[in-house]
């Protein structure tokens, strides 16, 4: 397996700031907006954005949720992997709210499809937008595109994009991991 750095810590930080500003442009005071991190790894992006919005732009009281989409996935019993659920924390309803889904990597679009179904259990939002740190181009299985994207990358199928976070893995970075044939 080989690792190539796609984004360094500094670049990740700049992109997060830009994404935060783009959110402010569209949502201003976030009064009727809820940010929802998609489990498991969208949570880190969401927490970082909230931190920037609060600390650097003094926007308080932003509603933040965590949504787990395991029970809404379309590959239950179809993949070798057993799907383990993560926690959902949504202590509000999204009825009449503007929802922004936040995830780290947008790949096939199937997770976002599942999230669109899952969110309906909490009411009918007026709109749903999608923010992703990394958008893998030419790999979508569904007609889903992000409203806010950090960086677009071209990655072939046996390559994987891995986002790491300081609070989890010890550093902020985005890697391109290529599986060698032996490793497969």
């Amino acid at each position: 397996m080989s690792h190539k750095v796609l984004l360094s810590s500094k670049e990740v930080n700049i992109i997060l700031h830009r994404l935060a500003c783009q959110l402010i442009e569209n949502h201003l005071d976030f009064k009727n907006t809820v940010l929802i991190g998609l489990q498991p790894r969208g949570i880190f992006v969401a927490n970082r954005l909230i931190k920037i919005l609060q600390e650097e732009y003094q926007i308080e009281d932003i509603q933040l949720g965590q949504l787990d989409i395991t029970f809404y996935r379309d590959d239950f019993r179809r993949s070798e992997k057993i799907l383990a659920a993560n926690s959902t924390e949504m202590d509000f309803l999204v009825e009449g709210q503007k929802v922004v889904f936040i995830d780290d990597v947008l790949y096939t679009g199937r997770s976002v499809r599942a999230a669109l179904t899952a969110i309906q259990a909490y009411g009918r939002p007026t709109s749903v937008e999608l923010l992703c740190l990394i958008d893998r181009r030419f790999s979508r299985h569904l007609p889903i595109q992000p409203n806010y994207r950090g960086r677009q990358v071209d990655v072939i199928n046996n390559e994987k994009v891995k986002v790491t976070w300081e609070e989890q893995e010890g550093e902020d970075a985005v890697y391109l991991i290529t599986k060698t044939e032996q490793a497969e």
Binding site: D68, T70, F71, Y72, R73, F76, R77, R78, K81, I82, L83, A84, A85, N86, S87, T88, M90, L93, T117, A118, Q120, A121, Y122, G123
Partner: protein, 309 residues
């Protein structure tokens, strides 16, 4: 990623400790699901489950059916009173007939101990035992332990006494296995006639005095006196049973600590437990019912994920 070590849920004695933890972790998520405005997830859209109740049941059947529907499974119900069992059909034939209608899972309650194990060897479907005679009732034990974990934080190290009719109770046996597997200390308490012989061989102490048992425990699981299973008189009168083994407010107030009261239902108010205790903050009887749906959803979900596509 974690997966259950079994393909059927026939009894707690076939499970490993990790299996129970996996079921609990999954049930935590389902408990959140059933408290949403829309309490349903689409995971089991393509699964059909047959609920076969060869013995009467109200709450277990309702709880299973609700759990299945909350997972979007298709559900068919069958009860022995309206079936061909009375016409002399064997269990395997009955079930195979139902399975030919493309059923993936079977939830079964039967009066014969081991009926689930027998069925799992003869038919091609995932079996969940919803009670087999006086043998096991695994989902009840799982939801009881889940409720203890929810109230007290953990099951390990807790002292649990099971009070009442241990002899006729499948709840007692499954609870003993589950509690021991999770590291709790278990004692049983009841009239000598209602304690099975050789129960000590399971590492269980018998306490005949209720007050002493309650003084020792953190949790008391009160069982119902199963008059319908008693072919002879096991104690002189209900009044005497209540006097010796019924839990009342007065008795609980006389203890040094506040213990948790559980009951698998249906309650005989005024027999094994007084109304003021059953309705008090100390009793988690209705939490057990709510948790029952979440735990059964977890069991069904985890077993279904092992079914071949």
């Amino acid at each position: 990623m974690k997966v259950l070590s079994v393909d059927h849920l026939l009894g707690i004695k076939y499970l490993k400790e990790e299996d129970i933890h996996l079921i609990f972790e999954t049930a935590d998520q389902f408990k959140e699901v059933i408290n949403r405005p829309i309490k349903k997830v689409p995971s089991l859209r393509d699964i059909t489950i047959a609920n076969l109740f060869f013995e009467n049941s109200t709450r277990t059947k309702l709880s299973f059916e609700l759990a299945e529907k909350r997972l979007s499974a298709d559900v068919i119900n069958f009860s022995a009173s309206q079936s061909s069992v009375k016409k002399g059909e064997t269990l395997v034939d009955t079930v195979n007939n139902i399975l030919s209608m493309k059923v993936d899972m079977v939830v079964m309650r039967h009066s014969s101990p081991g009926a689930g194990v027998f069925l799992s060897r003869h038919v091609d479907a995932s079996i969940i035992n919803a009670g087999d005679g006086a043998h096991e009732h695994p989902t009840q034990a799982l939801l009881d332990c889940f409720s203890i974990r929810e109230r007290l934080g953990d099951v390990a190290g807790k002292k649990v006494v099971i009070v009442g009719d241990i002899l006729h109770s499948r709840v007692a046996l499954s609870n003993i296995f589950a509690l021991q597997l999770l590291g709790a200390e278990v004692k049983v308490c009841g009239p000598k006639t209602l304690i099975p012989k050789h129960i000590e061989s399971l590492g269980i102490d018998v306490v005949l005095d209720l007050e002493r048992a309650l003084q020792w425990c953190d949790v008391a699981n009160m069982l119902r006196v199963q008059n319908e299973r008693m072919d002879i008189s096991y104690f002189p009168s209900t009044r005497e049973y209540t006097k010796q083994y019924g839990v009342s407010r007065k008795l609980l107030d006389s203890l040094d600590k506040e213990i948790v009261i559980m009951h698998p239902g249906p309650i005989n108010r005024g027999v094994e437990i007084t109304s003021d205790v059953a309705d008090s903050e100390q009793a988690i009887i209705l939490d057990q019912v709510e948790n029952g749906v979440a735990v059964r959803m977890a069991v069904i979900y985890l077993l279904a994920s092992k079914l071949k596509q």
